[in-house]
C-alpha cells in the first residue's frame, strides 16, 4: 500500500485496527483518503475468515453505493495479516465526539437538518437494488458531521443486504438497537428505531447505553429538553415505538414527517445547511468599483477622510478616491508593501520590504521622513502618545517620534517581528516569529513575556484587560494583559496568522484549516464556524452585524456575525490575504489578482 498512500495521521483506533488519513500519491493534486486497516491477531482460522469476510462485505457494499452522505470506496486489498479499505476522507467529527464536547443542547434546527439527511440516506439504502441494505448500527459514533455541516454515514462493517424472511445473528449496539433486532430481524424499521434512539440522545444528551434498554418511553424528550418542539419530539418518539409496526413504515415516511415539522415550526427557513439556494446567493453581488494595480495586493487598506490607502507588491502605496475608485497619487518604495498603513496628523505611515518605515503626506504623497531598520518591514505601524511603534524582520520593535522619525528606543525580540503591535493602557504588545510574545511599557522596559510553541505572526488585540492573539501552534490565546497569565486557550484546526477581531463578547479569527471561527470569550467555546475552500490568512472585519473576511480561495465572504450564515461572497481571480476595511456603506479589499475592490456593505 504503502508506496501509494502516504500516511499523515491516525484518525481513529479500534479493536481490530486503525483508520489513517493518507495522501494518495498517484494524484499530483492533493487527494486525501481514509485508509482503514484491519489487523487480524486471531489465530482461530474460522473466526479469522469471518472477520475478513465482514471487512470484505463492507467493501463490496460500499462499492455498489453512490450517495453524497456515504464515503466513496477507492480500493480494497490485503497484505498478509492485514486488510485495507481505501475510502473517501470525510473531514469532520462524529456525533459521539460532538456529544462529548457539548454542554448545552444542540439547536433544534441543526438536529432537524441532520435527521432529514439521515432519513434521506436510509431511504437510499433501503431502496437499494437488487436488495435493500439495512445499516443495522445507526448510532452517534457512526455518523460524521462534516466541516460543511453535512452528515456522512461511516462504518458499513455490519450493514447487511436484506434477505427477506431470513433470521440473522444479532449485531448492533445496546441502547440504540430495537427489541426486534435482538430477535435477529434486520428490517428497515430496525434502522428507523436506531435513528430515533440517536436523535433522542442528541436531543436529550442522555446516553441510551447508560439507561435500561427500551426505556425511551420513560424519558420523554419534553421532560428533559423543553426547548424541543412538540412536533419534532413526536416524530422521534414514534420512531422509537416498541413494536416495529407502530414505527414509521419507511425512512421516506419519516423524512416526510420531519420536513412537515420543519415547515410547521418555521425552522426550515433557518436551516443552516448550505443548499443550492444559499450558494447561489451572492452571485448578484458586484463590486462598486475595482482598481487595477501592477502587482499583487497582499496587505490591507486603511480608510481616512474619503481616501483609501493601500500598499502593493508593485512597490507603490496607492491613494484612491474611496467613493469612485479613482487614482489620487502613488508613492514608490524599493520593495513590496505587505502591511496596513496608519494615518495620523495628515501623514500616512507604512512599512516596506525595502527595510524602511515610510511616512508620507496623506494629501500629496510627498515623503515626510523614513526610518531604516536592518530587515524587511512586514509589521504595520501603530501610533500613540506622539510615537510610532513598528516591528521589523531585524528582530526589533522600533519606537520613533512620530513627527520627526527620531528613534526613541528599540526592544529586541530575538526573531523577526511581523505581528503589528497593539497599544493599551501604556503597554505595547507584540508577537515574534520564534513564538515569543512580549509586553513592554512606553519606556521600552519588558513587563512580561510569554512563549508559544510556534510563530506569532497574528497581531494582538486587547480588550477588557485580556490580550488575544493566534499562533502557528494552532492555538488562539487569551492572556491577562497585566501579567501574561493564560486565561484560556482555544484549539484551532491548524496554525493561524490571522488577527482576531472582537465584537462584544465574540471573537472572530481565521486559520490555515480554511475556517473562520467565532468564539465566545467568556466560555472559550466555539459559537459557529464557517469553512472556506482554502486557508484564511487575512483577518475578519466586523461591520454592521456582519463579518467580512477574505480567503486564499479568492473569495471575500460576508457572514452574519451572530449565526455565521453566508450573506454573500464575491470571487476574485486571486487569493485574498489581506484584511477588509469597512467604512460606513463601503467595504474595501485587495486581492492577489492585482485589483482593489469596493463593495456596498
Amino acid at each position: 500500500m504503502l508506496d501509494r498512500y502516504e500516511v499523515q495521521e491516525i484518525v481513529g483506533i479500534g479493536g481490530m485496527g486503525a483508520v489513517y488519513r493518507a495522501r494518495d500519491k498517484n494524484f499530483k493534486a492533493i487527494r486525501l483518503v481514509a485508509v482503514k486497516e484491519m489487523i487480524s491477531q486471531v489465530t482461530d482460522a474460522v473466526v479469522r475468515r469471518n472477520i475478513f469476510q465482514i471487512f470484505e462485505r463492507e467493501a463490496n457494499i460500499l462499492a455498489t453505493l453512490r450517495h453524497p452522505t456515504i464515503p466513496r470506496i477507492y480500493d480494497y486489498f490485503t497484505v498478509g495479516e492485514r486488510a485495507y479499505l481505501v475510502l473517501e476522507f470525510v473531514n469532520g467529527k462524529n456525533l459521539e465526539q460532538l456529544l462529548s464536547e457539548t454542554r448545552t443542547f444542540f439547536p433544534e434546527e441543526q438536529l432537524l437538518s441532520w435527521a432529514i439527511e439521515l432519513c434521506d440516506v436510509l431511504e437510499y439504502l433501503h431502496q437499494h437494488k437488487p436488495e435493500p441494505i439495512i445499516f443495522r448500527d445507526i448510532k452517534p459514533s457512526n455518523v460524521m458531521n462534516t466541516l460543511q455541516n453535512h452528515i456522512s454515514l461511516v462504518d458499513f462493517g455490519i450493514a447487511k443486504v436484506f434477505e427477506s424472511g431470513q433470521k440473522n445473528t444479532m449485531v448492533g449496539t445496546q441502547g440504540y438497537s430495537p427489541p426486534d433486532q435482538y430477535r435477529g430481524e434486520a428490517t428497515p424499521r430496525v434502522d428507523i428505531y436506531a435513528l430515533g434512539a440517536t436523535l433522542h440522545h442528541l436531543l436529550t444528551l442522555r446516553d441510551p447505553q447508560l439507561e435500561p434498554p427500551f426505556s425511551f418511553g420513560e424519558r420523554l424528550i419534553s421532560s428533559i429538553n423543553p426547548n424541543v418542539s412538540k412536533e419534532f419530539a413526536a416524530v422521534v418518539e414514534r420512531a422509537l415505538e416498541y413494536k416495529p409496526e407502530d414505527r414509521y413504515e419507511s425512512a421516506a415516511e419519516m423524512k416526510e414527517a420531519l420536513i412537515n415539522v420543519a415547515r410547521k415550526t418555521g425552522t426550515l427557513l433557518n436551516l443552516s445547511v448550505p443548499t443550492a439556494g444559499t450558494s447561489a446567493r451572492g452571485v448578484g453581488v458586484k463590486p462598486l468599483w475595482a482598481f487595477a494595480c501592477e502587482d499583487e495586493l497582499r496587505g490591507s487598506g486603511t480608510y481616512h477622510d474619503g481616501t483609501l490607502f493601500i500598499g502593493c507588491y508593485d512597490n507603490n502605496l496607492y491613494a484612491l478616491d474611496a467613493a469612485k475608485g479613482e487614482f489620487k497619487w502613488k508613492y514608490a518604495t524599493d520593495a513590496g508593501i505587505p502591511g496596513k498603513p496608519s494615518v495620523s496628523e495628515g501623514n500616512v505611515y507604512f512599512g516596506s520590504e525595502d527595510k524602511r518605515l515610510h511616512v508620507v503626506s496623506a494629501h500629496s504623497g510627498k515623503v515626510v521622513w523614513t526610518l531604516y531598520t536592518d530587515g524587511p518591514v512586514r509589521s504595520s505601524p501603530r501610533i500613540a502618545e506622539g510615537h510610532v511603534f513598528i516591528g521589523s524582520d531585524d528582530g526589533y520593535l522600533h519606537a520613533a517620534n512620530s513627527a520627526n522619525g527620531r528613534l526613541a528606543w528599540k526592544v529586541e525580540a530575538g526573531s523577526p517581528i511581523r505581528s503589528t503591535p497593539f497599544i493599551s493602557s501604556e503597554y505595547v504588545y507584540f508577537g515574534a516569529e520564534a513564538g515569543d510574545f512580549t509586553c513592554v511599557d512606553f519606556r521600552g522596559d519588558v513587563r512580561w513575556r510569554f512563549k508559544a510553541k510556534r510563530a506569532i505572526t497574528s497581531s494582538p488585540v486587547v480588550a477588557d484587560g485580556v490580550v488575544y492573539f493566534a499562533s502557528m501552534d494552532s492555538t488562539l490565546y487569551a492572556l491577562d494583559a497585566n501579567s501574561g497569565w493564560v486565561v484560556w486557550r482555544f484549539r484551532l484546526g491548524k496554525g493561524s496568522i490571522s488577527t482576531p477581531a472582537l465584537a462584544g463578547t465574540l471573537l472572530y479569527t481565521g486559520a490555515a484549516d480554511h475556517i473562520i471561527y467565532c468564539i465566545d470569550v467568556r466560555s472559550a467555546k466555539e459559537m459557529w464556524r464557517y469553512t472556506t475552500d482554502h486557508q484564511v490568512t487575512g483577518s475578519p472585519t466586523l461591520h454592521r452585524g456582519a463579518v467580512y473576511c477574505g480567503s486564499v480561495d479568492g473569495n471575500l465572504y460576508c457572514l452574519d456575525a451572530t449565526s455565521g450564515r453566508l450573506r454573500w461572497r464575491f470571487q476574485t481571480d486571486g487569493p485574498i490575504t489581506g484584511t477588509p476595511v469597512a467604512h460606513e456603506d463601503l467595504v474595501f479589499i485587495g486581492s492577489n489578482d492585482k485589483k482593489v475592490y469596493a463593495f456596498l456593505a
Binding site: 493602557s425 512580561w448 497585566n482 486565561v487 484560556w488 470569550v521
Partner: protein
Amino acid sequence: MKSIFQRLFAKKAGKAAPVYGNAATAPLHEDRAWDLIATENSGKFSHLISGSALHPGQRRDNNEDALLCLNAALGGAHAQPFGLYAVADGMGGHRNGELASEMAVRALGSHLMGKLYKSLFGPDPQPAQESLRELMETAVQEAHRAVKKAAPGGGCTLTAALVVGGQMAIAHLGDSRAYAVYRDGRIEALTTDHSLVKRLQEMGQLTEEEAAIHPQKSVLYRALGQGATAQADIFTSSLPSQGFLLICSDGLWGVLSEDDIQRIVNSTSSPFLACHHLVEAANAAGGPDNISVVLVRAVS
C-alpha cells in the same frame, strides 16, 4: 412581601447583637479602605481585599456550607494579585452534606494551590503552564472525585473564583451564586442556578414570586458529587471594576432581595463588615438556612 420582610429585618436587627460567625479576618480600618478604593482607576490592580462570613442560621444546628477565602499579597516586581474563593452548600442528608461541601472546598483548594505553588512562592515566579480555565476545569473534577469518594450519595453546590491579575475564572454548579456588585448600585448575577425552579422560571413557566415559594425550590439538576463527571459552568471574565465580586449560598440570596444585598454591600467600604452585615440581615429575615458569603474587590 417585601414590607413584611423589611419589618422583620428592622425589628430583629435592632435587637440582635452583631453576628460574626466563625470567620476571623480582621476588619480593615474604614479610612484605610477608602484610601485604597479612591485610587483604583488604572485597571492595573496590585492586590485584592476580601471578607467572608459563615453562619448556621436560625433554624439549623449543623452547617452544611463550607467556604474558602484566600488572598495572597506578594510584593515585588512579579507580584500579581492572587485570590481563591469558594462557597459550597452540602445536600443529601445530614452527615454527607456536611462532608461533601467540606471535601469539595478542600480538594479544590489543595489541587489549585499545588498547581500554583511554584508560580506564587517559587524563587523565579512564572505564570502557570495551564490556563486559568484549564486549572479550574481540573480542580472541579478533583473536587468531584473527592466528594464522591468521601461522601457517597452526598453532593454539594460549588461556586468558586480563581483570580490572577485582573482576570478571574469562575466555576459554578448548583444554586450558590456569584454576583458583581457595583458602586453605582447595579447588581448583576454572574451565574445561573442549576435548579429546576430556576429553569422553569427561565422558560416562563413560573413567575419570580411563584419560584420563591415553590416547594421544590432546592431541587438541583446539577451538583458536585452527582453523576459520572461534574458538569460545571466555567467562564472567565475580568474582575468587576468599580465594584465587588460576591459569592454566596442560598441562605443569603434566598432571603434577601438583590437590592437589599447591593445596599448592604455598598453601605461600607470594608468587605469584612459588609459580609457580617449581610449575615445579620439574613438571620434577621429568619435565617432558615446556613449562610455563607465571600466578598472581594481589587485595588491598585
